[in-house]
């Protein structure tokens, strides 16, 4: 852990709301005055290494690149005057690489970075680490969380972050939810929002989410819920179109990759629309009304038969019709169920809040917020 002077969350909040700031002695002109605001960073060490490297030629996202992206985020946050970053620790080297970089930066550069604090928490090398880190960050009053991962990582953060906005960066395998964009810009936007220079109403949006109720479990998906006839979770990913039975999507973009692309090519649904889509596939004896070629995973184009589809209205629920199989959340099998299990999917409009980087930077440009 890198020790830093502690600023109580209450002080952070009050100074933020009052526009409290002070110049930093010796700071470069491009660095804005300090705002006592804290930003969290979650980087999933496991993202980008599952079986889709084999089945779909998906990209490898090395740890060193995740660490590089975090450094670019730190530079951008520092430039917007953010004084502190809380970062999730890990056992795979991301935090270690960032810690080395922070020390090197302090020794070599005059460009200001926020103080970086690696959170003290037990590490289980599972999704629980993300849950715990996000809960701790929210308790510490972070004003935004920068997330590096795929759909699964963002889903995990969304399950614990409440109203705290996420700046999304895709470093996973399937990235329908997070933005595929340069970390510097995302960090810049996160800093502008966290420091209060751009108000949340001008810079963030509330996303939809899908709620899944299964016996003994309540789960969340941000993009899609897929019912498959695989009986076991196994290696989690899905690459076999013939195993798909039903698909529920919160939004569906025609240029997406992953299962939601099927719905996107069938009947696009925007992120802001007050509905989703429910698709039944022409497997298991059902006749197809259409056939679609869709990129169901990076590098994997599949021919998919569609038996039926319908608009999925917000706040409505649909029961899963498949007798037994697995439920995939945002592209990864998570729940095994049998004929006796009743599964219900609901579309909820009160999902996680995310930072709209383009809108934030547009607002900043319009108001001259980055003028020196």
């Amino acid at each position: 852990m890198i020790s830093v002077p502690v600023v109580p969350p209450s002080r952070q909040a009050s100074e933020l709301h009052q526009g409290g700031s002070r110049p930093i002695p010796g700071s470069l002109p491009l660095s804005m005055p300090t705002h006592y605001a804290t930003v969290g960073i979650i980087a999933n060490p496991a993202s980008g290494r599952d079986i889709r490297r084999l089945t779909a030629k998906a990209s490898v996202f090395p740890t060193v690149e995740k660490a590089n992206m975090i450094q670019r985020v730190l530079g951008a946050l520092g430039a917007t005057g953010i004084d502190r970053v809380l970062m999730m620790p890990d056992m795979t080297g991301i935090a270690a690489a960032v810690k080395r970089a922070v020390a090197a930066h302090a020794a070599e550069s005059h460009i200001r970075w926020p103080e970086v604090e690696f959170m003290e928490m037990d590490i289980s090398e599972s999704v629980d680490d993300t849950f715990n880190a996000v809960e701790l960050m929210c308790r510490r009053g972070v004003a935004a969380i920068v997330v590096l991962g795929g759909d699964g990582t963002h889903r995990a953060v969304a399950m614990r972050c409440g109203e705290t906005p996420m700046a999304t960066l895709s470093t996973g395998t399937n990235n329908a939810f997070p933005d595929l964009r340069e970390a510097t810009t995302a960090g810049f936007a996160a800093g502008l929002v966290a420091s209060g220079r751009v108000a949340a109403c001008n810079a963030t949006r509330v996303n939809k989410r899908l709620l899944v109720e299964a016996p003994g479990r309540r789960e969340v998906a941000l993009v899609d819920v897929c019912v498959t006839r695989h009986l076991h979770v196994a290696s989690r990913a899905l690459w076999d179109a013939e195993s798909l039975d039903e698909l529920f999507v919160a939004f569906a973009e025609p240029d997406a990759v992953g299962l939601s692309s099927i719905a996107g090519l069938l009947h696009p649904v925007s992120r802001s629309a007050a509905h989703g889509l429910h698709v039944k596939f022409a497997n298991d004896g059902r006749e197809a009304i259409r056939h679609i070629t869709a990129p169901i995973a990076p590098g994997l184009l599949a021919s998919v038969g569609i038996a039926a589809f319908e608009v999925f209205p917000a706040e409505s629920s649909i029961s899963v019709a498949t007798g037994s199989g697995t439920i995939a959340l945002d592209g990864e099998r998570e729940i095994e169920f049998g004929p006796q299990d009743h599964i219900v999917v609901r579309l909820d409009l009160r999902g996680p809040r995310t930072i709209d980087v383009a809108a934030t930077m547009g607002f900043a440009a319009q108001r001259g917020l980055l003028d020196i």
């Binding site: 060490p45 496991a46 290494r49 599952d50 079986i51 490297r53 084999l54 089945t55 490898v60 090395p62 740890t63 056992m91 795979t92 080297g93 991301i94 006839r229 695989h230 009986l231 076991h232 979770v233 196994a234 290696s235 989690r236 076999d240 013939e242 195993s243 497997n283 037994s324 095994e336 049998g338």
Partner: protein
């Protein structure tokens, strides 16, 4: 759709994992009496890896194992009676009692041997794979190694050669977290062993080694790719060993409840049984019957091993060289 495993195959998987567990648990108990010669390194806890991978193979496919090789041998079909006798140093053993735990080999089963040399399996398996390729078969060769061996030059050289020659090899890094007493989080410079795959131009995949179905599915994809001429793959199977590096290891380097917690939360046999009974694919009585049969098999293997004769002085210079 990729077909689900049949009931027969699920029973086979459970029998293999249960046999490995019982075999290792029995050796753990018997080693403490001082009757078993030499060193033993036990595979208990890692059963889903050997079973999930080797179930895809035939006798004509080859594997190279490690010093922790009992599980690989059993999964590959080496006779359990002969293995137990070998470990007890008896003339009825797989290698006539002259190899011991770390050198069990059975070429008729496609088992190129456990190996006392850390990282020794890589070059061996590339040779086997080259022969398969030159003979134009669709066979594959599997190199098991650990996180310690992942740092050895032999493994790097083998991975390089496998890509250069596009060999049908699957490199399986069984990362149990410790190279003897050294944590892999300290000794492995990269963050995941699978990350090294890209440097050798092959796919690298991380698999949950506590989950038979995850291992079986990932291995199936890698092996099918290799059989079709797609080249080598690196699978990193993350798992844990239940016993020490060797029998007698005090394991001061592990947290007090580390193994107990893993057993309670992740045990591959418990997880497998829970899943296949919940899905209705197997019944509790199916599993109980196998438990009983395996228990009897291991009892009998120990009884025979104890009573069988040791090699004699006349056996000392036999089986040293192979005549072609």
């Amino acid at each position: 759709m990729a077909t689900e495993l049949t009931k027969e195959r699920l029973l086979e998987a459970y029998r293999t994992m249960r046999t490995i567990r019982e075999f290792e648990d029995r050796i753990h108990a018997d080693f403490s009496t001082g009757e078993i010669p030499g060193f033993v390194h036990l595979y208990a806890g890692e059963e889903a890896s050997a079973t999930g991978i080797i179930m895809h193979l035939s006798k004509a496919d080859y594997i190279a194992s490690t010093h922790r090789g009992h599980g690989h041998c059993i999964a590959k079909g080496v006779d359990v009676m002969s293995m137990m006798a070998e470990i007890w140093g008896k003339v009825t053993g797989t290698c006539r009692g002259k190899g011991g735990s770390m050198h069990i080999a059975d070429l008729e089963q496609g088992m190129m041997g456990a190996n006392g040399i850390v990282g020794g399996g890589g070059p061996l398996i590339c040779g086997a794979a080259l022969a398969m390729k030159m003979r134009k078969t669709d066979n594959v060769a599997i190199c098991f190694f650990g996180d310690g061996a992942s740092n050895q030059g032999t493994i790097f050289e083998a991975m390089n050669l496998a890509t250069v020659w596009n060999l049908p090899v699957i490199f399986v890094a069984e990362n149990n977290g410790y190279a003897e007493a050294t944590s892999s989080s300290y000794s492995v410079a990269c963050d995941n062993i699978a990350d090294r795959a890209s440097a050798f131009g092959m796919p690298g995949v991380i698999v949950d080694g506590f989950d038979f179905f995850a291992v079986h599915e990932a291995a199936g994809e890698a092996i099918a790719r290799a059989r079709k001429g797609g080249g080598p793959t690196l699978l990193e199977v993350k798992l844990s060993r239940y016993y020490g590096h060797f029998e007698g290891d005090q394991q001061k380097y592990r947290a007090p409840n580390e193994v107990a917690n893993i057993k309670a939360a992740k045990d591959c046999l418990t997880s497998f049984a829970k899943r296949v009974t919940a899905s209705g694919q197997l019944s509790q009585s199916d599993l109980a019957r196998i438990d009983s049969e395996v228990g009897a098999l291991i009892d009998e293997s120990v009884r025979r091993a104890k009573s069988d004769p040791q090699p004699t002085a006349e056996d000392l210079l036999t089986d040293v060289y192979v005549s072609y």
